[in-house]
């Protein structure tokens, strides 16, 4: 029963949504929009579920003093302070009726002073790791790696004003050799072809997997629990 009901729901909803795409008449015509609304409602509840799960996991970690448990205190404190600042609109210049993110509110101050620098710092670390990884791993070991390396160099130079400055003296008849043009060619032709091939492959895979799920062939999403 625990598996049959979800399988039936999947079959009926999946089939109805496929029909809705091809039959624009009632009741099928509006099914897609109705299900989108249900999806939105579920998405809102997912926030509550996600928040609850975060609290549960970290309280468990704290109570059992698992590895790195002090970080859980920071996580929980951050979560509850932001939650209170947003829900109660603490310090909001327009009081409880105003925009949650109104400048001057505690929520906005926390966002600007803590959340923004933390997130920006995390992303900025990428520059250092890219530099370090390029030095250690980007080797012209074979033909394919060499093509990749040359392409990367052309893109690195062509996507900066230096590329333009280095090759802007090239005659118009061979202007395709200018570094920005070569970089654009790589993005417009080989990259485009590769991306389209990947997208078509993904689309075919999604169709195939969707049919497997709708028809009940693929059941891993139901978990391991047996009747």
């Amino acid at each position: 029963m625990k598996r049959t009901v979800p399988l039936l729901i999947t079959l009926v909803v999946g089939a109805a949504l496929i029909i809705a795409d091809f039959v624009p008449h009632r009741p099928f015509g509006t099914l897609g929009d109705d299900f989108s609304l249900y999806f939105d409602i579920i998405a809102v509840f997912a926030f509550i579920l996600g928040g609850g799960n975060l609290v549960r996991v970290h309280i468990m970690k704290l109570s059992k003093k698992r590895k790195d448990w002090p970080f859980s205190i920071v996580t929980l404190a951050g979560f509850f302070i932001m939650l209170a600042a947003g829900l109660l609109k603490i310090g909001n210049p327009d009081d409880i009726k105003g925009d949650v993110a109104a400048l001057g509110s505690l929520f906005s101050d926390l966002y600007i002073s803590i959340f923004t620098p933390l997130q920006a710092s995390m992303f900025a670390l990428l520059a250092f790791f890219v530099g370090s990884a390029s030095y250690r791993a980007f080797r012209a070991k074979n033909k394919e790696a060499t093509i990749l390396l040359v392409s990367a160099f052309l893109i690195l130079l062509g996507r900066t004003p230096l590329g333009l400055w280095l090759t802007e003296g090239i005659p118009d008849s061979i202007s395709f050799l200018e570094l920005p043009n070569l970089a654009n060619w790589i993005l417009d032709v080989p990259n485009l072809a590769g991306q389209r091939a990947i997208m078509i492959g993904i689309a075919l895979g999604v169709i195939s997997m969707s049919l497997r799920v709708i028809l009940g062939v693929e059941r891993t999403y139901l978990g391991q629990d047996n009747d």
Partner: protein, 299 residues
């Protein structure tokens, strides 16, 4: 093996296993020093950015432009200059600006942008008449899909809780098809791709985009039939700013965030290339040396 060869091998091995913190220092210097010097380089607008700029520049007065802030502080240094440039151009074209977010982190950025660009540079603009902040709504692609059918079903109030029907510029908005152009800023999920798939294609609504440099190649397949144009990374922002300055010389004395990043990006690219070349030179020297000292090849 001679002492000279041993020393040389030792040097190569040491260079190959160089402490990564040394590389980090070079990268940091490459990024920070040009930013502090405030140097900038000549920029040229590529066709994919030019197409976007020209499309906005040909919008008639009073056109409705929806801007979706689908990014957060992580990518704001790359994306925010694009938003600022597009806003300035839209205001010059006397467009109506509708701002929203399908990312929770984008909600605050809408407010910040209104304060920093609209209120400080264009104090004559009136909220509700010239621009509106609709804020964030959950639902990702499901939200976008619903907005194509009924906008006010999802947005019954603006970000401050004002009833949507009491906002003058929202009077004639029924769904996304009432907009002349939709901009999505940010290359993550949901983002430009979802706006194309769930709004642009089914509703025949022009979509323009601005995304991080790493996301741009993934979106090239949508240009030009499904995407009016695309700004990719700081370079895309700088190109758009360049086009803006050429078309509207009044901005030439204004500091442009995208263009000011380009010197830093150029120097850091050069440093990365230097390390890649050095790494490869050491790799080939080491490989040749190993080959020559193997049994049968020993000298």
């Amino acid at each position: 093996m001679s002492n000279g060869q041993t020393t040389s091998r030792y040097t190569i091995e040491r260079l190959q296993s160089i402490d990564r913190r040394i590389i980090f220092v070079f990268i940091a210097a490459a990024v920070i020093i040009p930013l502090l010097l405030g140097a900038s380089l000549k920029e040229e607008t590529t066709p994919i950015v030019r197409a976007l700029f020209d499309y906005v520049d040909h919008l008639p007065e009073g056109s409705r432009v929806l801007l979706s802030f689908d990014y957060g502080p992580t990518t704001a240094p790359e994306i925010q200059p694009m938003v600022d440039a597009v806003l300035r151009q839209c205001i010059e074209r006397k467009c109506k600006l509708y701002m929203m977010a399908v990312w929770a982190t984008g909600h605050n950025l809408v407010g910040q942008t209104i304060e920093e660009i609209l209120k400080s540079e264009y104090p004559q603009l009136q909220y509700g008449q010239d621009y509106v902040n609709l804020g964030y709504k959950a639902g990702s692609q499901g939200l976008i899909r619903l907005l194509v059918v009924d906008f006010k079903r999802m947005y019954s109030t603006d970000a401050a809780g004002t009833a949507i029907d009491s906002i003058p510029m929202m009077q004639n908005i029924g769904n996304l098809k009432n907009f002349d152009l939709i901009f999505s800023f940010g290359g993550g999920f949901p983002g430009i791709k979802e706006w194309i798939l769930y709004a642009g294609d089914p509703g025949h609504i022009p979509i323009g985009g601005g995304c991080t440099a790493v996301s741009a190649p993934l979106l090239y397949p949508y240009y030009p039939s499904q995407l009016v144009g695309l700004m990719g990374g700081a370079k895309g922002a700088a190109e758009y700013e360049n086009a803006l300055i050429q078309a509207y010389p009044k901005f030439s004395n204004m500091p442009m965030a995208g263009m000011s990043l380009m010197m830093s990006q150029t120097v850091s690219h050069i440093v990365i290339m230097f390390f890649v070349v050095l790494g490869n030179v050491l790799y080939f020297i080491g490989r040749n040396r190993n080959a020559s000292t193997k049994p049968g090849g020993e000298k």
